[in-house]
Every structure is written in structure tokens, then in C-alpha cells.
Amino acid sequence: MDLVTFKNIHKVYEMGAEPVRALDGVDIGFQKGSFWAIMGPSGSGKSTMMNILGCLDRPTFGQYFLEDKDVSKMADDDLSEIRLKYIGFIFQSFNLIPQLTVQKNIELPLYYLGWDAEKSAERAKVLAAKVGLETRLNHRPSQLSGGQMQRVAVARSLAVDPHLILADEPTGNLDSKTGDQIMELLTELNKEGTTIIMVTHEPDIAAYAHHRLHMRDGKVERIDSN
């Protein structure tokens, strides 16, 4: 069964006289529990694809089903709710909130979910232990290394038990050794059943995924699988 289904997704940006077709009719299904890497040169549409997958943007045309919900026409508040409950984000530049401690950063989605402080703290500790940061709970992001920051981001993305983790160049700001550690962490999460879709342009990182989707000019060029 597909977790995510794109049906003839178009995204057109009206910029100047020539409209830019960032996505030009994408039809694809991402299976539940699968691990995907989206690849392609810059301008191929992978960022747009990620934004639409992450419900940060709406397609100009076409349908996007998350499980059985048509997300493509949802209102802003409903999209927020989908992001909160279904999707975990991991970014290239970690995107932690600098003034919050590790624990508070991990708790952030739970705060918006309305959990009480005690329950959230408990959950944050469990997740920090899972990514090996149980001793860093009261540190601020600035006191952590890049790899540690990305682990916090992974723990945060797991806070609400998401159906889907979207990772945008998760190793882009890390050295290859740390990058591999993060990829191992993601592989482990995938084995536990979480669907992961990742954007990368590094072939050895993409090799961790089961399927590689190659984009070109807003269209799916080809898919190769292990």
C-alpha cells in the first residue's frame, strides 16, 4: 500500500513572462515502510517535490494523497496539522532553535500537539537516548557538534511517531564519517517501519535507500531499486 501518492502533480511558478514548470506532471507512489532517495541536478524539481511532500507548499495542479487524505487542496491550518501529526523533518542545516535546550527542541512538536510538560520531558529523554544524546539534554545547540545537532533533529522528527520522515540533504553539512552515522540511524528507523524520503545528490548516501528517484526538468527521469 502506498503511503504517499502523487497523481499528475504540477507546480508552476509565475516568474516574469515565462512560467517555470518546477514539477511537470509527476505520477508516483511511495510505499509504506520504504526508503527513497530523490536525486537530480539543481533545478530538476527535487526541492519543490520535497516542499509539496512536506505539505509546506501546494501543487498548482494534480492530487497528493497522504494515506487516504487528499492533501493537495487543504487549508493552511489543516496542512499544519498534517505536518504536525504525520511528517518529521530533517534538514541539511539542522534547523534547531538556538535558544532552546536539546530537550526543549525535541519536545517542540509535542508542545504544539498539546502534551503536558511532564509527559513531553519523558518522551524527549527516551528519544535522546535513542539517538545517543541522553547526556546532552540541557545543552544548547551551539554547544553541540554538527553530528550531534543532526541527531537532535532526528530525535525531534521522531517525537510524534511520524508516518513519514522527510530528510533534505541530511548529511550535506557533515563530514563523511558523521554522515554515515546519521545514515545508519535513518536506516535503523526505516527498519523499525518508518517511511523515509530523502533528497541528496551524493550517490554513496543515496545508496542507503532502497529506491532512487532521478528527476530532470520537473519530471521523473528514472527509478532504480536495490
Partner: protein
Amino acid sequence: MAIHQSKIARNIWLGIENLLLHKLRSFLTMLGVVFGVGSVVAMLAVGEGASKEALQRIQKLGSNNIIINSLKSIEEEGSSTQNSHMSIYGLTYLDYERISSNFPNVQQVAPAKLIRKESKAGSNILELRIVGTTSEWFKLVPRQLLAGRVFDQGDVDNFSAAAVLTEFGARRLLANRNTIGQPIKIGGDSFEVVGIIKNEEGMAGNIQIPDQQVDAYVPLSTVRKYFGDIFFKRTSGSRTLEMVELHQIIVQVDDVKYVESTAAGIERMLQNFHKKQDYVMSVPLALLKEAEATKRRFNIVLGSIASISLLVGGIGIMNIMLASVTERTREIGIRRAIGAKRSQIISQFLIETVVLSTLGGFVGLAMGIIIPLIITYFAKMPTVITMQSVILPLFISVGIGIVFGLYPAINAARVDPIIALRHE
């Protein structure tokens, strides 16, 4: 409900935490509201204190009363320098009779005749200022009785030689000797001290308090019988004769709402019988109204100044919050990506602003309470802090947070998460 409350408390705490990250900036931002609220509270306290004092003085005169004083007219003043001239002016016994009987709303009338007589108690000789009056005086100018009794209608009817000393007069004349029943001589005639009464000093508005600088009260009938109406007046070497029947008439009206009409009626009546303007009328109620109007004007002026300073404070807060939103664009993007709704971003920033302005309000309130205390201590000016002058600025400071925080908060919620996440 409990969950809801704890969530609000948590949001407020988050706001405080964020403000504590930039302590100096938050403090400086707050200053506008601190000084705004502080000056409002302080100014209200000073204004309230000043007007309360004025109102109290006027109220001592009695808001139901009309006070008519004899006045030496300008022509008389000029001619009195010539010798062997007798000035006749002022209110008359007839005026008193007419006022007492012709005006339906007049409840009580107290006439007063002022004389100065050499008086003697034991070996102590002094010139006393004596008021000849009726028993009504003590009802219209109510003062605390310290000892004995005041005289009554019987004393007036029987021309009794009873004297009521004021506390001031008793101190001068009797020193520490036993008081009640003490015989004293006034202008050669024997009187008995029957009571001692407190007296008030000072001015109320521009009206003299009726009993200031009075030493003794004696029944009017007795004064007329013993001393008559004609007196010598010594002014810088020359001696003139003066005939003044009554120096003052205090009229009490049965209801405040008839005070002004009765005063106008009495004025018309007096104009008929007096060819010269040898009397002056004072209506404490009119003064009271004037004082209240002054207070209202004062409050409007203070309010305008205060609202300008609060406006400036609010703009200061808005300015910093707008800068803060720009600075925290990425944070907003992260929160939105994670799943925060626009309304949650708005409330986050709005709470931060309200916390800031309310905190400023409290600090300003403390300042506004301390400043009047200092003013009272050093300048001896009365200040009054009312409940209203405390609560109002606090509500205003919360209001400032909402009004001036709304625009920055909406700006924050408008941030596009995709762009915000790329923001460096």
C-alpha cells in the same frame, strides 16, 4: 479548564524565557511603558491629592451654605480718612430678618457681629476678637465641643452673659487655668465661660473660613445690649467711627439643588435694599463645582500627556518586536514546518509583547507609587493614590501589549516557512 490554564501559564513562561535571553534589550524596551505608567500614576496621585485638599476645605464651609460678608465699599474707604466721619455700611438686622422669613428654602440663618474688646481673665488682659451670634451658628459651623456647652436660644432671648471660647481664644486668655465657669471681663462687663469649642484655620478657595481668628462667641442680643453698633476704628493714627450691624450672615439651604437659586434670590433682595455694594456673597457650592471642573480639566490634560508617553512606549515595543520577528524568521520557519499554526505563532509573539508591556506596567506602577511618597515627604504636598489610578494603568499596559504586539505578531505568522527555512 485546568489544562487550559496551565497551557496559558506555560506560554507566558515561554515568553518570559525568550525575553530573558535579551535582558538588556527587553529592559530598554520596557522603559517606555515603565515611564509612561509611572508618570500616569504619579500625576494622578498628585492631582488627586491637590483637588482633595481643595474640596475638603470647601466642604468645611458647607456645600448647602451661602455666606454673605459685609464689605466696606470703595467710597466709604476713601472718605474714612477724614476725621469725625462715621462710616455706615454692611449687612443689617433687617437683612437677617428678611432672609430668615422670605425664602422658602432657607432652613437656618446665623448672623454674626464681629467686635474687638479688651478682655480680662484674672490678671491677663488681651484684646479678644468676639463674634456675637445666635445658637444657629453652632449648627452651621459645626465644630467639636471640647468642654462645657454652647449657648442656646434661651441664652439669646435672656441676654445672658455667656461666652463660648474657641480653643485658640482659650489658650490665649486662660492659659492652663480651669476653664468652664471661669468669670472673664469683656469691655468691663462680666461674662461666664460656658464652653470651649474647636476652631478651623485657613482659607477655602478664596473664602475665609467663618471662624478663623475668632476668640469667643457671645449671644448677639447681649453684644447689642452691652456694646451697641457703633465702634471706633483706629487706623494709622486716625480714629474713625464705624457702624456695622452685622458682619456676616451664614444661610443654610434645605437642599443642595436650591442653593444657587436661593443665592440669586438673596442677591436680588440685597440689591434692592443696599444702594452701595457693601456686601459680598460666597457660595461654597459654586466653588466646589468650579474646583471639580478644574479637576476634570486637570485630568484631561494629564490624560493627554500620559497617553502620549504611553503611545511612545507602545511604539518602542512595536519597533523592537518587529526587529525581533525579522531576527527570528528562521525560528518561525522551523516552528511552522514542525506544525505550528499561524494562530499559534501569533499568540507566541503576542504573549511575549504583552508580558513585556505588563511587566513594564508593574515596574511603572511601583515607580508611580514611590514618586508621590517622595513628593509628599519633601514638598509636603498631599498625594492620594486611588484604586482607579492603580488599576487603570495596568489595564492600559496590557492593552498596549496587545495593540502594539498585534502587528509584529501577524507579520511573524505571515512568514512563508519555505523561505524562512532558507533564511540565514
